[in-house]
């Protein structure tokens, strides 16, 4: 039995989410193989081979994978699964926007169900996943020959990035499907930690009032704490910050050591994205705000006074 993990990367480095996915794969029991489909991605393949617990790295290096299009990547994954002639029992990817884009396509091409965002593994065919914005946890059993699964990265520790020495094997290229073309990417550049990997997150909501306030009030605190910056949907919709700051049911799911919710009322869709944080602090001037029901420490205060005080005190 082989578990195939799809590496998430940008052709230069292996993304941390892949390490959490390897940990989930290890819980299934079986050989773990990582597929690195990229273009000029030798460094990614080398990094994948060093991940602890990985038996094999399958590499396909071709121009078709330069942009990681769902169409080309899915076709390649399916080709690898079919070439293995039944040896691959599971296909796993992190439940990031990249993983969610590709894996349903893989599942449909294999004519199997896809299981989204698992948070626990009961056995090789039984998994736990959140539904209704995390207000319920469903245990589902798959009857399909190949289980195609996205993994909620916050639910599994990262595997060690060093210590492994997997064999690297080239696989045949499935080719370019010619269906889509990348025009460009506008990636948010930031010296701060990534939301998904940050130990501390400072998150702002509608209460920030404006983009200027969001930045002038929260950035000094985030800088002092070495924290990532996040936001509620309301703050993103209002244009305070870009879309990739959004924490919630349909944005990023985070579970840092400390989550500071500032001026966030706490809609269930937002709570779905952060309620697994170790410690939650809420600062809001409305004592009735639902965020206080999940906060470990609540402070009813005007954020424009409290946050600068907090910045000065830490």
């Amino acid at each position: 039995m082989t578990i195939l993990v799809i590496a998430e990367h940008d052709n230069a480095s292996l993304k941390g989410a892949t390490l959490n996915t390897v940990s989930a794969a290890a819980k299934l029991g079986g050989d773990i193989a990582i597929l690195v489909a990229g273009s000029g991605a030798a460094a990614v393949a080398a990094a994948a081979a060093k991940v602890a617990g990985v038996a094999k790295v399958l590499v396909v290096d071709a121009a078709a994978f330069a942009d990681q299009s769902a169409e080309n990547l899915a076709a390649q994954v399916v080709a690898v699964v079919k070439a293995a002639g039944g040896a691959i029992s599971h296909v796993l990817a992190p439940a990031t926007t990249a993983g969610k884009n590709v894996l349903p396509r893989v599942a449909a091409l294999l004519d199997v169900a896809q299981i989204s965002e698992i948070v626990a593994i009961e056995s090789a065919d039984t998994f736990v996943r959140p539904i209704y914005a995390g207000n319920a946890l469903a245990t589902v059993k798959s009857a399909d020959a190949v289980k195609v699964i996205t993994v909620r990265t916050t639910a599994f520790e990262a595997a060690a990035a060093e210590g492994g020495s997997a064999a690297v094997e080239q696989v045949a290229e499935a080719g370019d499907q010619g269906l889509s073309k990348l025009v460009g990417r506008e990636l948010t550049k930031s010296a701060r930690p990534e939301l998904g990997a940050a130990k501390i997150i400072v998150s702002g909501g509608r209460g920030m009032g404006s983009s200027e306030n969001y930045h002038s009030v929260l950035e000094p605190l985030a800088d002092k704490l070495g924290a990532a910056l996040g936001a509620s949907r309301a703050a993103v919709d209002a244009g305070f910050v870009p879309n990739d700051y959004q924490v919630g049911q349909t944005g990023k799911i985070v579970a840092p050591q400390l989550y500071l919710a500032v001026g966030i009322s706490g809609a269930i869709q937002h709570l779905a994205g952060m309620k697994d944080s170790k410690v939650i602090v809420a600062i809001n001037k409305d004592p009735e705000a639902p965020i206080f029901q999940v906060a470990d420490y609540g402070l009813v205060a005007d954020l424009f006074e409290a946050v600068p005080q907090l910045t000065a005190a830490v």
Partner: protein
Amino acid sequence: MKILVPVKRVVDYNVKVRVKSDGTGVDIANVKMSMNPFDEIAVEEAVRLKEAGVATEVVAVSCGVGACQETLRTAMAIGADRGILVETDVDLQPLAVAKLLKALCDKEQPQIVICGKQAIDDDANQTGQMLSALMGWPQATFASKVAVGSGKATVTREIDGGLETLEISLPAVVTTDLRLNEPRYATLPNIMKAKKKPLETLKPADLGVDVTPRLTTLKVVEPAKRSAGVMVADVAQLVEKLKNEAKVL
């Protein structure tokens, strides 16, 4: 150019669902049902493309129980021209819905299918990608901007690091993210008009699709509750607690 928009009937997003005590699922009896919010965005986008003269017809499709007719009427009140209900009491999973939609795409020959990126009940985020795979079409998921040209579309997508813009050939599947548009409220005259628009009802068997579930739900439970926290009086006390009690600073 025809646009197909699948719409799902789900528990309204303002409702906090309760897990049934016997662990078989969530209690949706006597709960307000609405169109999945991402599907509303999809209908709005299709209707705007029609108003802009890009599309000629918008067809809404819903798969599920008879009451999904209401969801289709809502889509038609927003501006869809007609509705198709694929009626079944079977608990439909994303692969089954994708197969039903494929059969309808083969029949209706739309140039674009606009789906919501995920339904807020099962949170699967699969159907659009699966349909695209089954059709052999390109996909542009999590769209925040769609521009349709001749034989192609340019779509801006919300991804983890920011935004990505793709050019895809048509026909194609697009799935909507939150910021694609703000759906209009259906006006009373449009709700009345929607009641007279054509609504066709089919069964999965009419489309030759096997909708048997592949996943069995063994149990549904409530997640562990967070223990009640404390309110602090001021910033000084908060910092003290974070340093000495929670030990996170």
